[in-house]
């Protein structure tokens, strides 16, 4: 194969990797759901969590149809929803949930930032409207809230982003690992990252990512948001499902459920 053909092949690889393999960082240009539908759904999610008395809960969005997701991964984004007094621009103060997110930066796919938004923002533009809800026990909620109120959560953020970040070390981070860091920081009463990662390794079972190794290797070379250098052996990452299971395993989960696009509660 001559150099021209090699160049052509690599150009194709880059195009394909960027366009579909690691798709997710692209903005969605069109909504599958109407503004009314998303607004209604977001309010249903808030109301269902509020009925449970959840001051803080783990919230996830499906984002994509299940058929487009790798095996074992059901949600594309995870964050913490915090019952808050929210001051509107008008000065009015209302009660509702503010969502504390780690978002990939729009202008730098390998970097992230911490953003507070609201349910309608969280669900806007998704291809598949489904929410995952995991409500920790009141005791754990209380500790998470204390951490957030003391502004200590920013100390748990690593802006180096990888979509398949290894939760057992702090080399890269994604939204789910950040959420797990907050939970573990609340549980262990420390923001010492080394201690948190030792405990994560000891007790948390990450999701193995079922992807072709060659594809992963190519991805780390050609796609900014993918890195495998923080992994040894099988690639593993934190997910909404594995965090929920972790809380359940250690008696720290009050309840968990999903909400479908019609606003109906589904047992997980």
């Amino acid at each position: 194969m001559n150099s021209k053909n090699i160049t052509l092949l690599f150009a194709m690889l880059i195009a394909l990797l960027s366009a579909s393999t690691f798709a997710g960082s692209q903005k969605q240009d069109k909504n599958n759901y109407s503004a009314d539908h998303i607004t209604r759904f977001a309010k249903q999610v808030e109301n269902l969590a509020a009925e449970q008395g959840a001051y803080v809960f783990i919230i996830a969005r499906a984002g994509r149809p299940a058929s487009d997701m790798p095996k074992g991964i059901n949600y594309t984004h995870t964050a913490l929803a915090v019952y808050s007094q929210i001051q509107l621009e008008s000065g009015e103060i209302v009660n509702g949930y503010a969502i504390h997110n780690l978002y990939q930066k729009a202008d730098a796919a390998n970097r992230s930032e911490l953003v507070i938004d609201y349910p309608v923002d969280f669900f806007w533009g998704v291809e598949q409207l489904e929410a995952g809800i995991a409500i920790p026990t009141p005791e754990l909620q209380k500790k998470i809230l204390a951490l957030i109120s003391a502004n200590k959560t920013t100390r748990l953020h690593n802006p180096k982003y990888s979509v398949i970040a290894n939760p057992y070390n702090n080399k890269y981070q994604n939204c789910t690992e950040y959420t797990l860091n907050i939970i573990n920081s609340a549980i262990y009463g420390t923001i010492d990252m080394e201690k948190l990662k030792v405990n994560t390794k000891a007790y948390f079972k990450a999701q193995k990512v079922s992807a072709n190794p060659i594809k992963l290797m190519l991805g780390q070379f050609f796609v900014d948001e993918v890195s495998t250098s923080d992994h040894r052996g099988k690639v593993q990452t934190a997910t909404f499902t594995t965090i929920t299971q972790y809380l359940e395993d250690y008696g720290l989960l009050q309840t968990s459920f999903a909400i479908d696009e019609h606003g109906q509660r589904i047992t997980l």
């Binding site: 790798p70 929210i86 509107l88 109120s149």
Partner: protein
């Protein structure tokens, strides 16, 4: 011929999503605000929050507090909470945001 086969093989290798736990904001804020703006006058009210003023409610002992002020007894079990019927969104639409006096911006001298 060989080139064609290689390209097909490469495409097959990377055709499925590796992982979808992305946290990219799937939003085009301008289009979101345009769509939400259309809802003005309908049953649902959409309002924008002021900057950085979502204060978490704190569960403190037997009391729930907001900004240090006790507001509700919760006892040992969490009771249902009330949420506003208003739909809250993070940012003002661009046509409103641009009119704001952005005092305190990081580049302001």
């Amino acid at each position: 011929m060989k080139k064609g086969i290689l390209i097909v093989l490469a495409s097959l290798l990377i055709a499925q999503p590796v992982h979808a736990a992305t946290s990219a904001q799937h939003t085009s804020k301008a289009s979101k605000h345009s769509a939400l703006a259309l809802k003005e006058g309908s049953k649902t009210t959409v309002k924008t929050v002021a900057t950085a003023v979502a204060v978490p409610m704190i569960i403190s002992g037997q009391l729930t507090e907001a900004a240090g002020k006790s507001v509700k007894h919760v006892g040992t079990k969490l009771l249902p909470l009330k949420v506003t019927k208003t739909t809250v969104t993070a940012d003002a639409p661009p046509n409103q945001a641009i009119k704001k006096d952005n005092k305190g911006d990081c580049n302001e001298q």
